[in-house]
Symmetry: C2
Subunit: 148 residues, 2 copies
DNA sequence: CAGTATCCTCGAGGATACTG
DNA sequence: CAGTATCCTCGAGGATACTG
């Protein structure tokens, strides 16, 4: 099976992974969450081929995750910005950071803090009805008839 | 830069992505979270090359995400199981499902419910100290001196 | 059943120079 | 500065048959 066909499956994981499940995509997105917006700094920082970055940015714009903005005042300058769809990947990024901090790095290279109180935020799986934190064991998965 | 070198960066995202940021890995892991444990069913379901699956399983075992178990009673049968490190990727998987449900599929192919009450669980970024839910704007990121 | 062995293709992506 | 153009390599992964 060609990998491309993942995009056609009726499965949120397969479809999402066909977008972000690639070597560079998540690292490019992280630069945007860090506050970077431009081509050259990202290319230099990540050290990836310029044509690869061109391609990924185009794909992310096509997917509606980034949008391009021209600056009339500075003609050659072009900025990319996260759309709401892109911003919404923040939770996923935090999940990656939390897992990585716990299991694959020694000292956390990045520390997240709540601006107001200085304490650390955490992701939790939470039942709004019961107001309790849940683990995998508390959860049942039900598949639609046409789910992949 | 070779992609392999991501594993050496002092960055939780880069290191985590060097493990799971690959076309098939997350989908293979999803099968385990679904309750699958064996080679052939996964190979058939995902339709990927058998040698690729062999390779990924070996990698996931090396990384301590899966472990192999032999069954003395059934000699040819071999099961793979998620370790604690692997189980802990559940949050990340839910983040993928939630984002995918919201942005890339129409009807959610999978519905998660809290076994006890039947309501749906949600991921939230949460400050334990303030007991409030946070968004990206509420959070400050601080980088260690040697962070990538 | 859980692989291994073999062969093959094609495209991802690195390197570098150039451009409006 | 944000690309495009060009060239090249190499390895990912598909297909298929075989094995203890």
């Amino acid at each position: 099976m060609r990998h491309d066909s993942l995009a056609d499956k009726n499965c949120a994981v397969a479809r999402t992974w066909s977008i972000i499940g690639e070597r560079w995509t998540m690292l490019i997105l992280r630069e945007f969450f860090r506050g970077e917006h431009r081509f050259d700094p990202i290319a230099r920082k990540l050290g990836l081929g310029r044509s690869v970055l061109t391609d990924r940015l185009r794909m992310l714009v096509d997917e509606g995750i980034l949008e391009r903005r021209h600056y009339d005042s500075v003609p050659d300058r072009l900025d990319y910005h996260l759309t709401n769809k892109g911003e919404d990947l923040y939770t996923l990024l935090v999940a990656v950071i939390e897992w990585g901090d716990k299991w694959v790095v020694d000292e956390p290279p990045v520390t997240l803090t709540h601006k107001k109180c200085g304490h650390q935020p955490h992701l939790s799986l939470h039942c709004e009805h019961c107001e309790t934190e849940l683990t995998r064991r508390d959860i049942h998965a039900e598949f639609a008839p046409d789910a992949w």
